[in-house]
């Protein structure tokens, strides 16, 4: 039930992000100074900001960056986590020991502080943020995948493959990896909501995709904060967009996970 509602809301968000030019009523980056800080009305559904830009259109376009980047992060982090987990779990022994101690150390850093530090080093471009965030998300994911790989490794068909002379790479690629695909998909999709939240938090703190690009988190920070007390709509709608999209992502993918594999309940969210 909640899963379905989540799915429908998610669909609306996805469509509005893809077809942003159709859904938007104004240019998100061009403001009309005569129309500064207008309250919500029929011409500006969510009102206008301190530069006279239409907030509704900025929220619609913001979905592109926030949701698009989150999807990229989750995909890339799944790829990284799979490689780390399969290599570490399949070889075991010393290889596993070294890799896992590195993962341990990586997990010791609080995610947000690590992200702020790294983004300030490499610069806040879209690509850099996606790469850095992917590495951060991949570490805990690889832990769960690794234990699954270690179970698969003991299976009889792996032994058989080895007996007939298959190489390690071949076994990992053709025999181990396919076994963990469902788990990878579940773990990755359950992270989506959390990734949206981190992206928005980075934007809010000034370490996200730089302005004037409309991004939900950064719309709530900077100059806009000075005007929020007289223009509540500045604070209301970008945050609402984050909350509703994260909520629908969580509800939808949680119910998908429960259907596919009920044992994995509560493995999600960072």
């Amino acid at each position: 039930m909640t899963g379905k509602v989540g799915g429908i809301v998610l669909l609306i968000f996805t469509l509005s992000a893809i077809f942003a030019p159709v859904f938007a009523t104004h240019d998100p980056n061009v403001g009309d100074t005569l129309e500064r800080l207008q309250s919500p009305s029929t011409s500006n559904f969510f009102g206008t900001d301190q530069l006279g830009r239409d907030i509704y259109s900025r929220v619609v376009y913001g979905g592109r960056y926030t949701l698009g980047a989150s999807l990229a992060v989750v995909s890339l982090s799944a790829a990284i986590a799979v490689v780390v987990a399969v290599v570490s779990g399949y070889f075991g022994g010393k290889v596993d020991l070294v890799i896992q101690r590195l993962v341990d150390a990586w997990l010791a850093f609080p995610a947000l502080i690590l992200l702020i530090a790294l983004i300030s080093l490499v610069g806040p471009s879209m690509t850099n943020i996606i790469i850095v965030l992917s590495i951060a998300v991949a570490a805990p994911m690889s832990r769960i995948l690794r234990s699954s790989v270690m179970v698969v490794r003991e299976a009889a068909y792996i032994e058989s493959a080895r007996v007939v002379g298959a190489g390690s790479v071949r076994i990992m690629l053709l025999h181990v990896f396919p076994q963990i695909i469902p788990l990878v998909l579940i773990l990755a999709s359950v992270q989506l909501g959390a990734v949206v939240l981190v992206l928005a938090a980075l934007g809010f703190l000034g370490f996200g995709i730089p302005p004037p690009t409309p991004e939900w988190g950064s719309m709530l920070s900077g100059r806009a904060r000075d005007f929020m007390y007289s223009a509540w709509w500045l604070a209301m709608f970008p945050g609402l967009a984050i909350t509703i999209s994260v909520l629908s992502l969580n509800l939808f993918f949680d119910s998908v996970r429960d259907v596919i594999d009920p044992r994995l309940r509560n493995t999600g969210s960072m």
Binding site: A108, A111, L112, I113, I116, A201, G239
Partner: protein, 315 residues
């Protein structure tokens, strides 16, 4: 038990060594563009060459590593490029409000989350369960920075009131300091309680399904002892571990955001300022410090787990 603690200690020491190595490499793998900006934007040196000299990046790598370890060993974390002052002294000033805020956030999160989670598990499927789960799902989706922003905006619009954003230190006026931290702690705690409810409920349900609970009920034990002596005491070891780990991470994350919004001069603000000013020695020091803090928390939690659950330490 002793061998278990020794083993945990060795593992933590090894991880700490790798953490040192990773933070050490922050300045060494710094892209040239960042170094250039440190010169052109921030004016930390006349040119990149002088900056590298100043940061000791021209020494042989083994010497840099040795200096770094020696510096940490002596308890110093170097000097800030921006202020030229000792980082450890500044951290000592910045740490108390962050730690206090963190402790308050944990307290609020647990006080709200654990009872709600237990009630939700015991009354599984009732309205109470639905309600607490809905609240948990909702609070997991609300960004803390938005919650805090909405609180500030609407308290001012509706009641013409805003919490004071002028920081008062603990030593100057303890009461005013706690009053100052009250709202950020409440908001952070509410946000943290969501995952506490979820985890508590799951773990309680797990335990309540066990045979020994049914046995206890069958022999006619009252619901309360069943719940507390048999239920809660068996659910608490994993509860302590998971909450210990998750909460310590959340607290640091929450502190960065709440300190920014409520203008608290703590460690979270310190790293934001340092990262914005490209004051990388400070960034490096805070990375090392927070990671060590997490490692120590993990170690305590591990030892506590071994103490609470004897099965763990036998392995």
């Amino acid at each position: 038990m002793t061998s278990y603690i020794v083993q945990r200690l060795a593992l933590a020491a090894l991880t700490l060594a790798i953490v040192c190595l990773l933070t050490f490499s922050v300045l060494r793998v710094m892209p040239g563009s960042a170094a250039e900006l440190m010169v052109t934007d921030q004016g930390y040196a006349d040119d990149v060459e002088q900056l590298r000299e100043k940061l000791g990046l021209n020494d042989p790598l083994y010497k840099q590593w040795w200096d770094w370890i020696a510096q940490i060993g002596s308890g110093s974390l170097g000097e800030s490029l921006y202020t030229g002052e000792s980082i450890s002294a500044e951290l000592t000033r910045r740490l108390p409000p962050t730690l206090l805020l963190g402790a308050l956030i944990i307290a609020v999160g647990w006080v709200i989350g654990v009872p709600l989670g237990i009630v939700a598990a015991v009354k599984q499927g009732t309205v109470l369960d639905q309600l607490s789960r809905t609240l948990a799902v909702l609070f997991l989706a609300v960004p803390t920075f938005w919650l805090a922003t909405m609180f500030l905006v609407f308290s001012s619009i509706w009641f013409g009131w805003a919490p004071s954003l002028r920081f008062v230190s603990l030593t100057d006026d303890p009461i005013a300091h706690l009053e100052f931290l009250f709202w950020p702690a409440l908001i952070g705690g509410l946000a943290a309680s969501a995952s506490v409810v979820r985890i508590t409920r799951t773990l309680m349900l797990e335990v309540l399904r066990q045979d020994y609970i049914r046995t206890a009920q069958a022999k006619g034990l009252a619901p309360r002892p069943v719940l507390f002596r048999h239920g809660l005491s068996n659910a608490s070891p994993p509860l302590v571990t998971i909450l210990g780990l998750q909460v310590s991470m959340q607290v640091i994350t929450g502190a960065v955001i709440l300190e920014q919004i409520f203008s608290i001069p703590g460690m979270g603000r310190y790293i934001l300022e340092a990262a914005a000013r490209r004051d990388y020695p400070v960034v490096q020091a805070i990375l090392l410090f927070t990671a060590s803090l997490i490692l120590v928390t993990n170690l305590i939690v591990d030892v506590l787990y071994g103490y609470l659950d004897p099965r763990v330490r036998v392995r």
